[in-house]
């Protein structure tokens, strides 16, 4: 039995090391100098750690750029926040209502509608850029943050609906009956019974949607216009130049900075996440 425990921890430890190694490489590279990176192995520890690359990634280098912006990430951080919060609320909210409606109010063809909706999860958004551009243009919100938010809602609704529908399917019928006997209508049942019940799954959907929207690059680039460019576009400007010189330490620092908000969300909510799923997201 003791050997079993030892093997158990051994395996888990090994898995943890394998998963952490690449993250470690990123962090250690970001505090090395460029000379050290050119000459050394990626696994060696930094000889003289410096956060210069981090500050350059965040603030940019004003000596090199054209003036109004210094090319750092700081300038677009708030834009990302302005995009992600409404997009998150709307896409998760719509998913909750749709999932609730599909799961609880057993209309004819609800399963068919659900299956039809699921297809949306499999369409690569890049493929259908043109019709979406035309549609958003006709709505008069192309090149603005509201336009971008709508795009995120469109590409997020299939996923969020699936999460909520599968959760609401697991709510005991007796509970629903009781609520209905008390005279609760569609919205009352949703607000006072179902939504409070779904808090854990709400957390899960929020976290995953947050990750998707925060990490999006192409939709932000296409639909955001000049004022609505998210942090990932700034990140790309910092690291994505094909013909310029490469500064890997700045690249890594910038990448870490961009990932920090999602990282923080995962670190702070890891427990909630598993509890949320355990609460029934995937129960049959």
């Amino acid at each position: 039995m003791r050997y079993n425990r030892l093997a158990l921890y051994g395996l888990l430890g090994l898995a943890a090391i394998m998963i952490m190694a690449p993250v470690f490489i990123m962090i250690s590279t970001s505090v090395k100098s460029m000379d050290e990176i050119r000459d050394g192995s990626i696994f060696t520890l930094p000889a003289d750690p410096s956060f210069a690359a981090w500050s350059k990634a965040w603030l940019g280098d004003c000596s090199q750029t054209l003036g109004e912006k210094c090319g750092g990430l700081s300038s677009s951080f708030m834009t990302s926040v302005q995009i992600v919060i409404p997009a998150l609320i709307l896409s998760v909210g719509l998913g909750a209502v749709t999932g609730y409606s599909l799961a609880v109010w057993k209309m004819k063809g609800a399963n068919l509608m659900f299956a039809a909706l699921l297809v949306g999860m499999f369409i690569p958004p890049q493929v259908t850029l043109y019709p979406l551009i035309i549609m958003i243009r006709e709505l008069g919100i192309f090149g603005s943050i509201p336009g971008l938010i709508l795009v995120h809602v469109i590409w997020g609704v299939a996923f969020t609906t699936m999460m909520f529908r599968n959760f609401f399917k697991t709510v005991p019928q007796d509970l629903l009956k009781a609520a209905r006997i008390d005279g609760a209508g569609f919205w009352a049942l949703f607000w006072h019974v179902m939504l409070p019940l779904s808090l854990p799954i709400l957390g899960v959907a929020m976290i995953l949607q947050f990750t998707y929207i925060w990490n999006d690059f192409l939709l932000g680039l296409t639909f955001g216009g000049r004022s609505g460019q998210p942090m990932t576009v700034a990140l790309n400007n910092l690291v994505g130049s094909q013909f310029g010189e490469k500064e890997y330490n700045v690249d890594m620092a910038a990448t870490m900075l961009t990932a920090l908000p999602t990282l923080a969300v995962y670190l702070l909510s890891g427990r909630l996440f598993v509890r949320g799923i355990a609460a029934g997201a995937v129960k049959g």
Binding site: L8, L11, L12, A16, M18, I19, P22, S41, I42, L94, T98, S101, V104, W105, K106, M107, N111, M113, F114, A115, A116, L117, L118, V119, G120, F122, I123, P125, Q126, V127, T128, Y130, M135, V153, V157, T161, K169, L176, K177, R180, I181, G185, F186, T211, N215, F217, T255, T258, A259, T262, L263, V265, Y266, L267, G270, F273, V274, A278, A281, V282
Partner: protein
Amino acid sequence: MAEPAPDVLQRSDEGKITSKPAKKRWRPQWSAGVALVPAMTITIVCFYGFIIWTFVISLTRSRLLPVYKFTGFDQYVRLFANERWWTAMQNLAIHGFLFIGGCVVFGYLLAILIDRGVKAEGMFRTVFMLPLSMSFIVTGVIWQWVMNPGLGLQEAVRALGWTGFEFNWIVRPDRSIYTLAIAGIWQQVGLCMALFLAGLRNIDPNIWKASRVDGIPVWRVYLHIVTPMLRTVFFTVFILMSAIVMKAFDLVVALTGGGPGFSSDLPARFVVDHILNRQELGLGAAGAFVLLCTVIAVISPYIYYELKKERSGRGH
């Protein structure tokens, strides 16, 4: 919108409905229908409308911009004569099998290990889920370094003295596709672990007690009793991971750039490359349509089966 069918809810308050003038009352079922309008609009206009648009464009000679000069199935002839497309489709099968399989197997194993009651469970969980917070681009960039034979793991192990060590898959045309699965599994295994763990936590503890009394070995309990009970978890994992495979684009771009040659290309990247970079909108649309049809053909029987199962035998 479909007429609400009589169901449990309606039957439960039939008495109330008949006691009031039912015709004038706004029925909650109608609200349910109204609530579906936005999502259904998106489904019909954006998902299916765009799929139809893609098909229409695939019948044209569009290059940089959509033009509506029809050329029949020419683009499909060109697509099917394109060696790179077939490599990409073959890679989709390989990558789909390895990535989904790997996420399921390793995610399930990690979940079982954690579920055996370890100390510091929270720490392990957090560590395993950490890569999820990284975008595919970032994942690709990091693994490109690690797998680069001149910079990464191979060089590091050789420097330790094991000079015969070889890990050069990323530069070998016959192996590069496997590197995508490695990086992809690294990123997504945490989510699968979390989903499986949650499923395991919902298993009735009495099952474990009973099997202990009966003296059934632990691995057999997992294999024959627990696994069948987690079928909906497997469903969710399968759907989530297949969606990732079908849309796999960023990861390929950042990790291998589709190379060496086009040995690690995937259909989504083929399509995006042709639409956005090569001004081959018609050809790209043809590829996209074939890809979507493939997806629907593979996924829909499974979805149908699951939903049917759900209706007939709910609650295990």
